[in-house]
């Protein structure tokens, strides 16, 4: 039997600790939209998305109202567009992004992911055309998110793609320089990308997925932070147990919402993504959880260990609460979207090098990091290569979402607003990686035994 304490505890989590469902994401296959005529293909893409996701936003809002739990985002992910567009007789893939954008606007969602290509081993004709179109596509559209997978544990790292993505990120920043390079906030470079990720900007509907699916991303850094405030000074065993219990509760709620959305929309339930996703709001920060464990500022020595514990405990607690767990599942550390990370980066304790170390033990990677506008494409490529190597060797997903803010210098702030937050421009190493990136080719897949 429920008691008043339980009820009030849940309400306090929602009201004061920012407990929410971060996203309901509908994955839609567009494989049947391929057509030799690009215009016809775009029409089919628009029509199919609008038909499938017609009731997504309304259903999300209904659930939100009836259960009294905020559902922050309703989103759509689609088949990597390079595959859908490949059979079209056209050189220009920007119209496909525009079709996605129009469909997103018609459905009322706030992001659509899947302007993507998977090139971990090599490029097809469609992959090359799609990657070339990314800067213009992100400049012309409002809601489209793009991702490119350039490496995997089984295939190694495609260093030609790494080099190309450095140039594409620079071009995207330049093409959206009137908005401080905002296009780069919607572009993710992955190693070991997952097919059922509900979170943006890296969501796409993988080729192994069904026709249409509902994936849900939960959140709750504020709830974990609050729970840890109750165990000040206790040993790490107690810390881990507390995080597990909290993650269990948060995920049970995510599972309930996922099942409800799936049944109301008549679309199969895919997965719950057990991620701790911060927002720029005070009290909803992953960095503050790490600091609550005893670190003066996030980024100082001990941060990687604290994050490893947090990430593992979130998964252990969440796994039992959900029928199917998937997506990225772990603690996110996007700098611009986390109030505590922003503060730590501004005061200089949190650096890109430390963030890179942190990504060895958590989801997902160097995320939402602003760097000076004069950072070279080679340096960005080298940052991508480092991060991809972490993912490749550790058999985990890693990603880079980096913004070389045009005209900005270290210490400047890039204001994006909303969930994207604001990013302090962080320093990168000045020494050149150009000759390293110029080699091209592929870094071979790593051994999966003799692991030390």
């Amino acid at each position: 039997m429920l008691n008043q304490k339980n009820i009030l505890e849940t309400i306090e989590m929602i009201d004061k600790q920012h407990l929410d469902i971060r996203t309901i994401t509908m994955g839609i296959s567009l494989r049947d939209c391929a057509h030799p005529d690009a215009k016809r293909c775009c029409e089919k893409i628009y029509d199919k998305i609008c038909k499938k996701a017609e009731n997504l936003v309304k259903t999300g809002e209904d659930i939100e109202r009836e259960f009294g739990i905020p559902i922050v985002n309703k989103r759509i992910s689609v088949t990597p567009m390079s595959m859908v567009a490949e059979s079209c007789e056209t050189e220009d893939y920007v119209p496909f992004a525009v079709a996605m954008d129009s469909a997103a606007k018609s459905c009322g969602v706030n992001f659509i992911g899947g302007f993507s290509a998977l090139v971990q081993k090599g490029f097809t004709i469609g992959d090359r055309k799609l990657i070339a179109a990314i800067p213009e596509a992100l400049a012309q559209t409002e809601f489209v998110c793009s991702s490119v997978n350039i490496g995997s544990t089984r295939a190694g790292i495609n260093m030609d793609a790494v080099a190309e993505m450095g140039r594409i990120i620079k071009a995207t920043a330049e093409r959206t320089k009137d908005r401080q390079g905002l296009g780069c906030a919607k572009l993710v470079v992955f190693c070991n990308a997952v097919e059922d990720n509900p979170f943006m900007a890296g969501a796409f509907h993988g080729v192994g997925e069904g026709e249409c699916v509902i994936n849900v991303g939960v959140s709750g850094p504020g709830v974990v932070y609050h729970a840890l405030q109750g165990v000040k000074g206790a040993p790490f065993d107690v810390v881990a147990e507390t995080v597990k219990k909290t993650a269990f509760q948060v995920t049970r709620m995510g599972q309930l919402v996922a099942r409800e959305a799936s049944s109301r929309l008549g679309v199969p339930f895919g997965i719950v993504d057990l991620s701790l996703a911060p927002t720029p709001a005070i009290g909803d920060s992953v960095a503050r959880i790490l600091e609550e464990m005893g670190l003066e500022v996030c980024g100082t020595h001990g941060t990687t260990a604290a994050l490893a514990l947090l990430n593992d405990a979130v998964k252990k607690g969440g796994v039992m609460a959900s029928g199917h767990v998937g997506g990225l599942s772990g603690a996110f550390i996007p700098v611009s979207e986390d109030e505590g990370m922003i503060a730590a980066a501004r005061e200089g304790t949190l650096t890109i090098d430390k963030l890179e170390a942190m990504t060895c033990v958590c989801s997902v990677g160097l995320d939402m990091i602003a760097v000076p506008g004069d950072t070279s494409a080679d340096t960005i490529s080298a940052i991508i290569a480092d991060e991809a190597a972490v993912g490749m060797v550790n058999s985990k997903t890693t990603a880079v979402r980096i913004i070389p803010v045009p005209g900005a210098k270290v210490g400047d702030m890039m204001e994006m607003g909303g969930l994207l937050g604001s990013a302090p421009v962080m320093p990168v190493h000045a020494a050149s990686s150009a000759a390293f990136i110029a080699r091209g080719g592929r870094i071979p897949a790593p051994l999966q035994s003799l692991k030390n």
Binding site: Q4, I7, L8, F67, L256
Partner: protein, 89 residues
């Protein structure tokens, strides 16, 4: 369908009466009530049966919320499932 009604705010005369009258107006049966007043702050949770309600559940949430605003109270109506999910194995 069972729901939880939570009422919080500064204690005044007639809160319970007012809320119960409203609920009966919408044909909602009250199954259980728990209420405390701590330093003048009123908190009440109710378990109700909304299966025979004469308004849509989403509409009920809004109507009760509006009534709360009128009375300077916070009134929320939520489906019981969310609390079960979080607190029962």
């Amino acid at each position: 369908m069972r729901a939880i009604v939570t009422v919080t705010g500064k204690d005044t005369v007639g809160i319970i009466g007012g809320v119960c009258t409203r609920l009966s107006h919408y044909n909602i049966n009250i199954l259980d009530i728990s209420q405390t007043v701590l330093q003048g702050y009123f908190t009440m949770t109710m378990v109700v049966d909304a299966s025979q309600a004469n308004v849509e559940f989403g509409e009920l949430v809004k109507l009760m919320g509006d009534y709360g605003t009128e009375r300077h109270l916070s009134i929320r109506v939520q489906r019981e499932d969310i609390f079960d999910a979080m607190h029962k194995l």
